[in-house]
């Protein structure tokens, strides 16, 4: 399977034909957080417990809005900062 860097536990891969994301729990911080790695680009995102809880409670429409490619990752250059995930060249933080 995929090698997940860091001290994460229970790594797994959630994938479809559209995307592949490695999921693990990271303990480098003062409390646990979710580590998400986009396996196609290497970009990494950490999500803390409260953020996760908010996702659980977010309405479906919020997810649908996120699915718009122009919202973040593929936004036009003059539409403001888009990408906040940690790039592959800067693992960790």
């Amino acid at each position: 399977m995929f090698e997940v860097p860091g001290s994460g536990e229970s790594p797994g891969v959630v994938s479809s034909e559209f995307a592949a994301v490695s999921v693990s729990i990271d303990h480098d911080g003062n409390s646990a957080r979710l580590r998400l790695e986009d396996l196609r680009s290497g970009a990494v995102r950490f999500v803390d417990a409260l953020e996760l809880e908010s996702i659980v409670w977010a309405p479906e429409g919020w997810f649908r809005r996120l699915m718009d490619p122009s919202l973040h990752r593929w936004r036009d250059a003059d539409a403001g900062p888009g990408i906040e995930a940690v790039g592959p060249e800067r693992p960790g933080r």
């Binding site: 479809s16 034909e17 559209f18 997810f63 699915m67 122009s70 593929w74 036009d76």
Partner: protein, 431 residues
């Protein structure tokens, strides 16, 4: 999808009518690409076509790639559990949106330029949308096309590419009862198509397959080797000595009803070629669910052998979905039928189906050889017509008003062609 000018419409209908007679059909019906094109328009893109089963998309956001003839369809389940059929063609420049045979995803991102759609077909966004005038401009862009009519019977999902027409219940008619009969063989009343599909492609016209499915005249010849190897007595049921009947159900549907023989045998599961002692858990739960008497009746009567026009064939323990791709190219998608709450029976059914219709299955290989030889045969110039008169003089009507014949009579083909004419040459109706 069905709108065509009227002038070119008339001539083909008349031509087809001249090629279909009550007791014979013309060879060009299997070989002429222009007739195939008309069939797509008047049959495959008009009438109800079987697409898939709800058990193939059990969870919200599940999807599976299916077809309506050459049209690629994505069958999806939304988060409320509703089933949708969308065409697999990006609204941007027409790329295939889904490539995997199945998956779980609430939205689909086209691999070409990244347009992203919900699994019900709605456009959610496109990359760098200023090129379309920003978010507002997206409203002008298209969605994935939806199959306009979707209806479900007993978990079997049908789609029609025509906006209007007969309801699914009208289309199925008495064939709906046979799907009920099939589902009743589950102690929980549900069929599950979870065993996976094998695709068999043959160089033959799709109607060769439809006609063969309930042709009781061929098994003793074509399948004699598998019957003798497996020691199966099923072959004997397809003879004029048998009490089994071939029945025209109307709407192009037909069946080989072997149940009179199974009732004569009077043994639960005799129809499946297995014994009560081999599947005790199944037999026990059937008796528990339906009561000892009804449970036994269901298990004695067995499973239907029915061709539901134009593309769903249930052959007792296996299910075939017929997909025409060209006038001489057809795929059969085959799976072992599974019954919810019947793990011991299901294991046996998979094993049996591997032997009959798996990649090296003997039953389907026999038939496939006949389809391809038949396709090559009808391409010869003479004698032009295929003879369908077998049993015409001894057709009768059963208690329910259906036309029946002996197990080997060509009732099913004649009734299929009668229905074919009503679709292909509507003005005159049946010839």
């Amino acid at each position: 999808m069905t709108a065509v000018g009227e002038a070119p419409e008339r001539a083909p209908g008349e031509r087809v009518r001249s090629l279909v007679r009550p007791d014979r059909v013309h060879g060009s019906l299997y070989t002429d690409p222009t007739i195939f094109a008309q069939e797509l328009e008047h049959i495959w893109y008009t009438t109800w076509v079987y697409v898939g089963h709800v058990s193939e998309i059990p969870q919200p956001k599940d999807y599976v790639r299916k077809s309506i003839g050459p049209q690629q369809v994505i069958m999806t389940r939304d988060r409320e559990g509703e089933v949708h059929l969308v065409l697999n063609r990006c609204a941007h420049r027409g790329n295939l949106v889904c490539e995997a045979p199945s998956g779980n995803s609430g939205s689909f991102r086209c691999p070409y330029h990244g347009w992203t759609f919900s699994n019900t077909g709605e456009l959610l966004g496109a990359p760098f949308n200023k090129g379309y005038g920003g978010k507002e401009g997206l409203k002008e862009l298209g969605n994935l096309a939806r199959v306009p009519r979707v209806a479900i019977h007993r978990g079997f999902v049908f789609g029609s590419l025509a906006e209007d027409g007969p309801s699914l219940a009208e289309h199925l008619g008495p064939a709906a009862d046979r799907l009920d009969q099939l589902a009743r063989l589950s102690p929980e009343g549900e069929v599950e198509l979870t065993a996976g599909f094998v695709q068999h492609e043959v160089n033959a016209n799709w109607k060769m397959l439809v006609e063969n499915e309930t042709d009781g005249y061929h098994p003793q010849f074509v399948h004699s080797s598998i019957f003798s190897i497996s020691g199966s007595s099923i072959g004997d049921l397809y003879s004029d000595k048998s009490t089994a009947v071939t029945r025209a159900l109307g709407g192009g549907h037909s069946e080989n009803d072997l149940s009179p023989e199974f009732r004569r045998l009077g043994v639960p599961m005799g129809w499946a070629g297995t014994l009560e002692s081999k599947i005790p858990d199944y037999v026990a739960s059937m008796r528990e669910t339906y009561g000892p008497q009804t449970g036994d009746e269901i298990m004695i009567n067995g499973s239907p052998h029915i061709m539901i026009f134009p593309n769903l064939f249930v052959a007792e323990i296996q299910l075939f979905q017929i997909q025409p791709l060209a006038v001489d190219r057809t795929i059969q998608h085959v799976t072992a039928i599974q019954f919810k709450g019947a793990p011991d029976l299901n294991r046996r059914l998979v094993t049996q189906c591997v032997g009959s219709v798996g990649p090296a299955g003997m039953l389907l290989a026999d038939d496939a050889e006949m389809y391809e030889r038949n396709q090559r045969g009808v391409a010869q110039l003479q004698p032009e017509w295929l003879d369908l008169r077998r049993g015409l003089h001894r057709e009768s009507t059963d208690d329910d008003g259906f036309t029946i014949g002996t197990a080997t009579d060509e009732i099913s083909m004649r009734s299929m062609w009668k229905h074919y004419l009503t679709l292909m040459a509507p003005q005159g109706g049946a010839a």
